[in-house]
Symmetry: D2
Subunit: 285 residues, 4 copies
């Protein structure tokens, strides 16, 4: 049986003694460290760390923990964030007409592989309403036309706020979110792009791949930023193809990649294993 | 024990009965077909075929075979080429300072994995002379400066012609060949590029990959055309990396990819398994 | 748009001229060959071939085709089978309590990746009734106890016969079928075993793998024979693991392998791409 | 430029505060931690840790370090070992007639990928003397017959001792070492077996794999113990094969696996990244 845990993520200028300070502090709190991982960026000397520790049996109560911790963080000029595994994150999903990534996320959530609550799914089409409600999840239809996009994104932001959504997954959502949404959820919107970025960014990547005659196709899960398909990459994978594969074969083979790459990225995000630094990710896996 | 074989490669407008015509012709010659593979391009209706057959026990002598075959080819307006496995191809290798692909090709040739003769290796540097001559292969030093490039390529073409070289392998050769060389050896110069093209074309792809923060690196073997890194792709492969990998780690992991991808492409070329069609390859593997 | 096709599978003693005879016959029928693939077993000289051809525009009607074909088959002492892609195969699925392979098969069938009809699902437990009927598929509960096994298998055989089932997929069905079922469906019952066979045959392979400390886990789809986990292997794949992975991590990582390996095997079977020869498969892919 | 480092490996009963104690001690020594990784065995509560730290700028000299460290180790009842990256390990290689793993290790050592000294290579055949001496390495021929095995292993042990060899790599050495050698170098003899163990242990694994009709082949690097092919696995990898692959194709494809798996394992061992616990490895990678 797994005991409840908390995860502390830290980034600060590198210096000697940080690990000792963090692990010493947790030892003083009688916290049992389960995993500790760190990384120093050789380019700019930044230090990042993730510690996961059991909260049961600690001598410091949850309410008092942050106050106790703050002096350590200040001594080393740390940015940090703390997450309790028992505080289940709230994930909204956005889709268009394709359902393979949606099914995959729903089934993994149901069997406990991805430990999140899913308050609702949003789509710019009606097609997947039945699939979504079949899983017992709310479905909102927010159709997008050029002239309504601003309003509809306003409604989306309202839904996300009202339901206290922590992060958003674009599970083959075929619209581009504007700055007003993206900036509200930095490193908290995950997109699946159906190519190994930076190759074949933009529209119809499988058609582009077919045209170029590549021998591998790929999929990329990344955080959404204002630059299309240029945000920090969380996970990528590729599969071999050959000259016999038509565009529809690439689409079929790609679906398996999209599913596994997106769910891997979501799982990493949910378990607080991803830090963004200089438009790249540090994945503590 | 393997018996001697010949390989017939065909491309022509698709129509019913081509396979019957080719296999019927070979049956009439008492040739035993070992492998037959074909492909129809759905975009333009082109038909391609590769047949490998044993030459022993045929009722038509090698000298008479082409005359017997020609009417079949003409009936279907075929382009075709015929290669005997016993006519070992002659491969020249070009390198600069890095030796990992060079060693790999030499060792595979020595143990019989790649059945070619290697009359010589050319380099724009002296560094690898000892390595090359250690394998008992001739080494030519053709240093390149902007003002001497034309002359040196002239010398290269002379060497290639004199030694009846069939195809050239750029095993991490860091110079760009000009049109005068490329056009003389269409689909007969194989380059290894150290990224999964079309991502990170051009210089220093591992540095580009590190900057972008990708989670896979790759290598691509392709035929050289006048468009830099845009020729038909023969083979590609990728490997997983993570945020801990420095540029030098990418270079190290990439070396293993480059070796295996380049040697796979060379092996396919040597065994007459690659056809180029519309800047893409059909690999009969 | 794909035109309707038929697939002819052949196995016979190897001799010169078989490809010519088959393709010549099809040319005489005005059939357009889409794919032709063959293999000669070097151990016993058996020849196998698969030809897929368009049925539209043929000069011989479906009803007359077999009579026209039989003399060719007899001349070369062929075993053969003919399948029309438009005659959708009927697949029964058997499960126990785990649902991941079941969902995967259902979703791939619904989106057209696996072109079969699914008359019913059988389980030795009630747990998945809701899942199955949610897909609009009939569900039969056949609980198994040592003393009832014979009777229950009798009921199973009756169901399979009444619904004209072509083949059975054991999608994590945790009971062993006895000879009376296995012999009725030779090379027509596909099982997914959650290890890379022959390693870790039998019960609890992930526990076995954890104990041994392997660095890869695997999954194997194979035809069921009377020898447990020893039937002809259709598809296999592996994934990397490390010392951090608990048994439950292996189970989780294994689920993705099981899904993709099983569905790949089912797809190959449905498209008549698998021949069994000497307890091994020839997969014309 | 990389600064000199030391690596501390620890295993002890798990308890709270160990990471704090170790990192606190290193902070007191003014040592900069580059990497720290740990693992708790859920089965028996053992704790393992690997810390790599820069030795430059430490306030405790190398000569005094162990004395300063010992009280910490004793407090937690640690087993531990300390290795300085600048103390290059001494690796002996044993081969028979096949040279692909030998070339691979030699070339990786020469280009700095594997940082070891290689005092000599031993073989039970003369065949590879030229290859070995061509790399400037001593070659010893110790032919083995049943009646001479004891004596020859005695000579081997003498060579290993005289040249202060730290560990031995069996790079396709086709003899079984007896207990007298194995026990002298526990977790210090690395073998490459040409299958994914535990499948196809023993002789001629590619022939076994061909017979069974598997769709993947593999290679396994493991520490040698008294149980044949049953020692702790360090690294494994697999590659896809199909029915067309003859035994000699499996051997060829396997060579690439053997090379990369063996060199990966050697590299991990050289960098003190492998701990053995209960016949399994913990690989801090």
């Amino acid at each position: 049986m797994k005991l409840p845990t908390a995860r502390l993520l830290i980034w600060c200028p590198d210096s000697k003694g940080i690990i000792a300070a963090v692990s010493g502090f947790l030892a003083d709190c009688d916290a049992n460290i389960l995993e500790a991982d760190q990384h120093s960026d050789p380019d700019d000397g930044a230090f990042c760390m993730r510690v996961e520790f059991e909260t049961q049996g600690m001598s410091v109560a949850r309410a008092a923990f942050v106050d106790a911790w703050r002096p350590v963080a200040e001594r080393y000029r740390m940015d940090w964030r703390l997450a309790y595994a028992t505080d289940r994150k709230r994930m909204a999903v956005m889709v268009s007409k394709q359902d393979h990534c949606l099914h995959d996320l729903m089934l993994r959530q149901r069997c406990g592989e991805i430990e999140v609550d899913i308050p609702f799914v949003v789509s710019n089409h009606e097609d997947l309403r039945g699939v979504v409600t079949g899983y017992g999840i709310n479905f909102f239809h927010l159709p997008i036309a050029p002239e309504t996009k601003g309003d509809q994104e306003g409604k989306l932001l309202k839904l996300l706020a009202e339901d206290r959504v922590d992060f958003v997954v674009l599970a083959r959502y075929m619209q581009i979110l504007t700055q007003q949404v993206v900036e509200r959820y930095p490193a908290r919107i995950i997109n699946i792009h159906h190519s190994f970025l930076p190759a074949f960014a933009g529209a119809r990547p499988y058609h582009q791949a077919y045209q170029r005659g590549v021998k591998v196709v790929g999929a990329t899960a990344h955080y959404v930023t204002d630059d299309l398909d240029a945000g920090p990459i969380i996970a990528q994978n590729t599969a071999a193809i050959n000259h016999r594969d038509s565009v529809s074969d690439l689409i079929r083979k790609g679906r398996d990649l999209e599913r596994t790459v997106l769910s891997a990225a979501v799982r990493l995000h949910v378990e607080d294993k991803v830090l963004v630094h200089h438009n790249k990710t540090i994945v503590f896996d």
